[in-house]
C-alpha cells in the first residue's frame, strides 16, 4: 500500500489479511463462517454494465474477487469472419456502446492499411473530429459518474444532459445518435452540415460551464475527497505487469497516450500535452479524466479551426460488394477515453476478413487488474474502484 499521504487517507492497512498459504493461494475457508460469498451483478446498479463480480467478503472487507463476463457475448469476431468487409462496419461498432466510433475508425484504418488506400485530407479531419466528439460524450458520462458511485447523482444528471447535446450534434453530422456508422473504408459519409460549427461552439461553452460546476461539486467536495484519495491505488509497477493503459496509467505518472506516441489521423497537427497525475488513486484518475475533458474541448476547437471547409471526403474504393483485401495482417491502435484500443486484423485475401481481434483496455482492467485491486478493499468502495477503471464489458467479451 501507498505511504500515508495526507489526512484524507484514513484507510487502514489491510494487506496482512487474509493469510496466504504456502503455495501462494489465499487461505479462505468458506465453511468457517468468517466469509460470505457475494455476487455484485449482473443485475446490480453498482456495476458498470452487464457484468458481475463474485466477491468473497469478510466483514466489510473483500478478500477475494473474481470477475465474470460473457453476459454480452455476441461472438463478433466469429460473425465478422462470415461478413464482407463492408458488412463488418455496422457489426463492429457494436463492440463498444459507449464509444462506437473507435471501432469504425480502426476497422477502416486496418482495411485501408492492408489495401493501401489513401484517405482524403478532409476525411482525416472529420474522423479526428468524430473521435474527439466520441471521447467528449464518453467523458461527460464518466467524469461525473465517479461522483455518482458515491451517490452524488446531480453531476450525473448534468453530464448526461450535456452528453445528449453532443449526441444531437452526432445525429446532425452522422445520422445516428449512438451508433454513428460514419467512418467507412476510404473516408467518411458526409461533410459538416451548415451551421454545425456554431452549434458545436454553443455546446462546448455549456460544457465549459459544466466543468466549473463539476469542479466545485466533485473535486472540492470533502466527501468525494475522503472516499477517493488513497483508495483504489494502482502501483506504478503494475502498469506494465497488467497492461494498464490510458487514463489509469496516466494517473500513475506514465505519460502514455497513443495520440502523442503513435500519432494517427491529424493528431500530429494538433497542439496538446499529455495529461497526467502521479497519485494513482481514484481521485487522481478522476482528475486525469477531467483534464482530458478540458483537453478534448480544446482539441475540438483546434480541429474546427484548422479543418478545411470543403473537399473530397471519400476515396474511391473497389466495389464493396466483392472487395478483396490483400492477404496480410496488421495491428492498429487509437486512444479511446479508456486507453489504448486496437484492432488486430488478418486478411487471407478473400472478400471476408480472416480474423479481427479487438484489444480493449477493459480486457485487462476489468479482469486481472480489478481482481487484484479489490483484494482488501472496503465493500463500499468496490463500485467506485470499478468505475474509476472505466470498464466496459462488451469490449471484454465482444
Amino acid at each position: 500500500m501507498k505511504e500515508q499521504k495526507n489526512i484524507f487517507n484514513w484507510q487502514p492497512d489491510r494487506s496482512k489479511y487474509p493469510k496466504v498459504k504456502e503455495n501462494g493461494e489465499l487461505d479462505i475457508d468458506l465453511t468457517s463462517e468468517k466469509f460470505i460469498k457475494l455476487w455484485q451483478g449482473p443485475n446490480h446498479p453498482g456495476v458498470t454494465g452487464n457484468m458481475a463480480i463474485e466477491l468473497t467478503v469478510s466483514g466489510d472487507e473483500v478478500v477475494h474477487a473474481k470477475t465474470h463476463v460473457g453476459y454480452l457475448h455476441r461472438g463478433f469476431e466469429k460473425l465478422m469472419e462470415r461478413r464482407l468487409w463492408i458488412q463488418c462496419f455496422p457489426t463492429c461498432i457494436r463492440m463498444c456502446v459507449a464509444e462506437p466510433d473507435y471501432n469504425e475508425y480502426l476497422l477502416a484504418k486496418s482495411a485501408e492499411e492492408l489495401s493501401g488506400i489513401e484517405v482524403p485530407e478532409m476525411a482525416e479531419w472529420l474522423r479526428t473530429l468524430v473521435l474527439e466528439m466520441a471521447r467528449l460524450q464518453s467523458l461527460l458520462r464518466t467524469v461525473p459518474g465517479q461522483a455518482g458511485t458515491l451517490s452524488l447523482g446531480v453531476g450525473v444528471q448534468w453530464g448526461v444532459y450535456l452528453r445528449d447535446l453532443v449526441l444531437d450534434l452526432f445525429e446532425e453530422l452522422t445520422g445516428g445518435r449512438v451508433y454513428h456508422m460514419y467512418i467507412l473504408p476510404g473516408g467518411v459519409r458526409g461533410l459538416l452540415p451548415d451551421g454545425f460549427k456554431k452549434r458545436m461552439e454553443d455546446v462546448l461553452k455549456k460544457i465549459e460551464e459544466f466543468i466549473v460546476n463539476i469542479e466545485n461539486l466533485m473535486f472540492k467536495n470533502i466527501v468525494f475527497k475522503k472516499r477517493t484519495i488513497g483508495v483504489g491505488y494502482i502501483d506504478p509497477a503494475w502498469v506494465d505487469q497488467f497492461g494498464i493503459v490510458g487514463p489509469n496509467a496516466r494517473a500513475a505518472g506514465f505519460k502514455r497516450d497513443v495520440r502523442k506516441d503513435y500519432p494517427y489521423l491529424k493528431y500530429n497537427e494538433l497542439d496538446f500535452d499529455v495529461t497526467y497525475e502521479t497519485d494513482s488513486d481514484i481521485f487522481a484518475r478522476s482528475v486525469v479524466r477531467k483534464k482530458e475533458l478540458i483537453l478534448t474541448l480544446d482539441l475540438i476547437r483546434q480541429i474546427m479551426a484548422k479543418m478545411p471547409e470543403k473537399g473530397d471526403f471519400k476515396a474511391q474504393t473497389p466495389n464493396v460488394l466483392h472487395w478483396k483485401i490483400p492477404a496480410g495482417e496488421t495491428y492498429v491502435r487509437s486512444e479511446s477515453s479508456r486507453g489504448e484500443y486496437g484492432f488486430y486484423t488478418v486478411s487471407d485475401g478473400s472478400t471476408m476478413p480472416r480474423r479481427i481481434n479487438l484489444r480493449g483496455p477493459s480486457y485487462t482492467h476489468a479482469v486481472s487488474l480489478l481482481e487484484k485491486m479489490l483484494i482488501n478493499a472496503n465493500l463500499a468502495d468496490v463500485h467506485s474502484i470499478m468505475v474509476s477503471l472505466q470498464t466496459c464489458p462488451p469490449e471484454i467479451e465482444r
Binding site: 449482473p42 443485475n43 446490480h44 446498479p45 454494465g49 452487464n50 460473457g70 453476459y71 454480452l72 457475448h73 455476441r74 461472438g75 466469429k78 460473425l79 462470415r82 455496422p90 457489426t91 457494436r94 456502446v97 459507449a98 458520462r141 450525473v156 444528471q157 448526461v160 444532459y161 452528453r163 445528449d164 449526441l167 445518435r177 449512438v178 451508433y179 462488451p394
Partner: protein, 226 residues
C-alpha cells in the same frame, strides 16, 4: 418438482456446489440429507390469477399503468439510452416511469436488445422474481428476429419464445423518444386489460420452459423461483 423432462445427467454436470444434494449435521447431532433445489426453493408452478371484480380491476389497471417501475437491469446495448431517459432531458419520471434496483420492486422489465444465453438465464430468473402483474418492453430488432446477431451462436433470436412480451419498439437502438412512445403503448395496453404477460407465462409455462431449457444447457437452478 416440475423438471422431470430435465436431463438429470446434464443437471449434475453443471450443478453448483452449494446446490448439490448433501448430508448435513443438525445441531442435535443427527445427519439429514438436504436437496437444496427442492428444499430451499418453492417448487410450485406459477398460477393464473384471474381478476375478481371487473370494476376494481379497471381501477387497478389504471393505477398500474400510471406507475411503471422499471427494473434497472441493462441487458444489452439499448440500456445506454436509459440514462438520458431518466435524467432531466426526457424526464420519464413525469410519466410515472422510474428505475428500481431490484426485481422485487419492479413491474416493468426492459429487455434492451440482444440477449446472450448467459444473460437469458439471469433474465428468466429475474423475470420470475418480479411481482405480478409484470410487463416486458422489448427494444430493438434483436428481440424481434435476432437483429444484427441473427446468425450468432450466443444470442437468442425471438424473445417471445422465452418470456411473454407486451410491447416492441423498433430501432437499433430505439431513441429515448421511441421508448417513451413504447411506454405510452404499454399504458394503453394495461388500461385495456390486455397486458396479461404473467398469466400467459403461467398458462404456457411448459412451452416456455422447454424453449428456455433448449438454450440454457447448464440448467442448474430450480425451474421456477419467485
Amino acid at each position: 418438482m416440475i423438471n422431470e423432462n430435465n436431463n438429470s445427467e446434464n443437471l449434475n454436470k453443471f450443478l453448483h456446489k452449494e446446490n448439490e444434494i448433501r448430508n448435513v449435521e443438525t445441531p442435535d447431532g443427527s445427519i439429514i440429507q438436504v436437496d437444496p433445489l427442492n428444499d430451499y426453493f418453492c417448487t410450485d408452478r406459477p398460477e393464473v390469477k384471474e381478476p375478481k371484480n371487473k370494476v376494481i380491476e379497471k381501477f387497478l389497471n389504471w393505477a398500474r399503468a400510471e406507475s411503471l417501475w422499471v427494473l434497472g437491469f441493462g441487458t444489452g446495448c439499448g440500456s445506454i439510452e436509459i440514462p438520458p431517459l431518466v435524467t432531466p432531458r426526457f424526464d420519464a419520471y413525469r410519466f410515472g416511469v422510474q428505475m428500481r434496483p431490484t426485481p422485487r420492486q419492479s413491474n416493468v422489465f426492459i429487455i434492451s436488445g440482444y440477449l446472450a444465453v448467459k444473460t437469458l438465464k439471469r433474465v428468466i430468473r429475474t423475470y420470475e422474481q418480479m411481482q405480478g402483474p409484470k410487463y416486458v418492453l422489448a427494444l430493438g430488432s434483436c428481440t424481434i428476429n435476432g437483429g444484427m446477431y441473427w446468425d450468432s451462436y450466443n444470442t437468442i433470436n425471438r424473445l417471445d419464445h422465452y418470456i411473454p412480451v407486451d410491447v416492441y419498439v423498433a430501432g437499433c437502438m430505439p431513441r429515448p423518444e421511441a421508448l417513451l412512445a413504447g411506454f405510452n403503448k404499454l399504458k394503453e395496453r394495461i388500461k385495456d386489460g390486455r397486458a396479461e404477460g404473467a398469466n400467459e407465462y403461467a398458462e404456457k409455462f411448459d412451452w416456455y420452459k422447454s424453449n428456455q431449457k433448449k438454450i440454457v444447457k447448464d440448467w442448474n437452478m430450480p425451474d421456477y423461483n419467485w
